[in-house]
């Protein structure tokens, strides 16, 4: 009984490792790329809704405020990204 359970567990672990292996080989890069693009878009989104924070006039501020509560945590990374200087290492990232 206990033996069977062990076996099953082992099989499950093997299955999981295999899944992770396949994911790492085939899909990780794609997923990483998708998340990276998603991150850039998030920043683009904040730019076109909250741009006046950086002095870029954006229409219209009234409804932007309604969206503000949802993006509060992203604002500081967004500002850092928008305002930092670029150099060649950026292309390696």
């Amino acid at each position: 009984m206990a033996d069977k359970e062990k076996k099953e567990k082992k099989g499950f672990r093997l299955g999981k490792s295999l899944k992770e292996f396949v994911y790492g080989m085939a899909a990780h890069d794609t997923a990483r790329f998708a998340l990276k693009t998603r991150g850039s878009m998030e920043h683009l989104f904040i730019l076109i809704t909250m741009g006046d924070m950086l002095g870029i006039p954006i229409l219209p501020p009234y409804y932007s405020l309604r969206l503000l509560p949802y993006v509060v945590p992203q604002i500081s990374t967004w500002k850092r990204r928008m305002l930092r200087e670029k150099d060649f290492t950026d292309t390696l990232a």
């Binding site: 899944k19 909250m50 932007s64 309604r66 949802y70």
Partner: protein, 325 residues
């Protein structure tokens, strides 16, 4: 057809607006139309979208920022206090931020952004725009009468709704695309698909509000839009231009109402030469009005001997406006 005929023939009409240059009598006619409809047994709300509203003056009652105030049976009037509304709105946003993230207070940079955004000149107009949506959303009145801002403002108000609409479309597009990337990443990692995007939901809500107000302006059946003008050369030219602009925004114009007409019958009495000349000099502009807006002049109201304030004077205007004098 006169104003009474138009209202009688349009049972679906629910929103009535008077537009035109400043100081020609938009507020007077708004009040008079509200008075007439209330007398007919309809429940009417007349409200001002003008930050420098004068409904309080005409009804001789301070109604500024007090919500819908009953003036007489069936007749309610409202003046929106934009500053108060902006303050409430800011407080609401801040509370939402604090509750959502369990902060003790709103972070400084967010605080200063809220303050800066609220001092933008467009903020006041937007706040009023949004307040109007709340007013018409309730739908508890038979008629809503808009006491509009002078021309330039009214056009700004209209164009704002199309700008808003485009802006919302763009960001909704971006947001939807972001959601797609989220889903791709989630699927790759064999995670369950992330929950519905709250921002997208908020955007759809904003779009709904904007569309409601702009659809009212352009609804031929539900909305009657009337231009107020006076028998003066300059006013006629400006009104023609404004009429063209309004049609460009798809606002159907239901008619033109002439105000401040000096009564011709005075000529039969002994009157000073000054007044006589004034009466004679309006003949040509009056003829021009009939010519320019052929068949679209739906009412004419005389120049009264005193300011239009108080219900008694409003009744006199209403009688002339609706052809019951």
């Amino acid at each position: 057809m006169n104003l009474k005929g138009i209202l009688g023939a349009s049972p679906k009409m629910k929103y009535i607006m008077f537009g035109g240059k400043g100081g020609l009598g938009k507020t007077t006619f708004s009040a008079a139309a509200a008075y007439y409809l209330a007398q007919q047994g309809h429940k009417v709300l007349v409200f001002s979208v003008d930050p420098q509203a004068s409904l309080s003056d005409i009804f001789q009652k301070d109604i500024f920022g007090k919500g819908a105030v009953e003036i007489m049976p069936n007749l309610f009037a409202q003046e929106i206090n934009a500053d108060q509304r902006i303050a409430d709105y800011q407080a609401q946003i801040k509370k939402q931020i604090i509750d959502r993230y369990g902060f003790d207070k709103v972070p400084d940079e967010i605080e200063s952004y809220i303050a800066a955004a609220s001092s933008e000149p467009a903020m006041e107009e937007s706040a009023i725009f949004d307040a109007v949506v709340d007013i018409v959303f309730t739908g508890e009145y038979d008629y809503y009468i808009y006491d509009l801002v002078p021309l330039g403002h009214a056009l700004y108000y209209l164009s704002m709704s199309s700008i808003y609409d485009e802006w919302i479309n763009k960001i909704t597009e971006l947001r939807t695309e972001m959601q797609r990337y989220d889903q791709v990443a989630a699927r790759m990692k064999s995670e369950s698909v992330s929950e519905e995007d709250e921002i997208l939901r908020e955007l759809q809500e904003i779009r709904k509000r904007i569309n409601l107000s702009s659809s009212i302006f352009t609804d031929k059946e539900k909305t009657g839009f009337f231009f107020v003008l006076t028998p003066e050369e300059m006013t006629i030219i400006d009104t023609q231009k404004a009429g063209e602009l309004f049609s460009k925004f798809g606002v159907p114009i239901s008619g033109y109402v002439v105000n401040r007409v000096l009564p011709e019958k005075l000529l039969k009495e002994t009157i000073p030469a000054y007044l006589k000349h004034r009466i004679e000099s309006q003949r040509e502009p009056l003829a021009r009005i009939q010519d320019c807006f052929k068949g679209q002049v739906v009412g004419s109201v005389q120049e009264f001997e005193r300011d239009i304030t108080g219900l008694e004077m409003i009744r006199k205007v209403s009688d002339q406006l609706f052809g019951e004098a």
